[in-house]
Amino acid sequence: MKTCLIVDDSETVRKLLRHIVEDMGFACIEAEHGEAAYDACRAQMPDVILLDWSMPIMNGLAFTQKLRQTAGGEKPVIIFCTSETDIGQIRKALEAGASEYVMKPFDASIIRSKFYLTGQIGEP
């Protein structure tokens, strides 16, 4: 079964994303910030990472930069899922190595669409 790491400092958001992603047949792991997410990746590299931007200890951008410089860190699909909606921020995330980008608020069909576009599921 494919795995998805959900990284957000809001438990509510993590729960919502878990529900959506488990419905798509993924096993989910959660992390509250970038450092915990990096540790989780070192233990087992997930297939997909859903990633918030603003988090304590290590934010989403710093996590992405660090992961992509780690052996094996080029593999996961990284989908930012954040209330940062400015085009400059979007470009920064993509330059750091993000695969896709979702602007909050989102719903299940937007998340599904991004999983489909990144080849994680067969149909949208």
Partner: protein
Amino acid sequence: MRYADFDLYKDLIHEKTGLYIGAEQSWVLESRLAPVAAKWGYPSIPALTIALRGIPDPGLIKDVIEAIVSHDTQFFRHPEHFEQLRDYILPHMAMARSDSGLLRIWSAGCGTGQEAYSLAIFLRDHADLLGGLKVEIIATDICSSALDQARSGLYTQDDIQRSLSIHQVLSCFDQVSGGMWQIKPPVSSMVRFQYGNLLENFERLGTFDIIFCCNVMQDIAHDRRDKILKLISQRLAEDGVLFTEPAAPLAT
């Protein structure tokens, strides 16, 4: 809404557009008619309905129809159509149209333009499959307010997140004020939006290589569907392709 009043709207829409509205949609009808009643100074929807039973202003009829028939569309709503374009249709057309050098596409019932712009975005992304063909996309709809919105090229954050990759968003849209996104000129210049009622003869539009008539057919009453398909088919080149609503059964 009284059944007799609902029947008036149902018959009006059917007569003018061929579209069918079921009784289960009557509650939606009231919310859509309220702004029309307010605009024309009617204190209530029953008062608006009485006016429609008399000799109504053509402008009022137009506003009523537009308020009722506007439909939701979405970027890349049917991904399988684009797969077929990529795998079979564009390679064929690149060879078959090499003499004329032009590929003509019609988005019939285009609503707020997402289907037409999706085609433009897709063709830009797959320009290598076109073999140098120029592309002309004509998009028609019966609803002028939808066409105005389509021409503006303005979409919400929610619109552009559905089915578009972030890379497509960044290359084809500018972020503008109020959290909105606007189609860039190189994309919008590929599409021409025009008023069009599917019941009319579209000879004026010429012949098309590919026609999309999706997201409309399921709303068309059976007795009009065949007529509309016949009229549309008359605009199709001999080796042309018609995409229509997958679930709509075609009468034999």
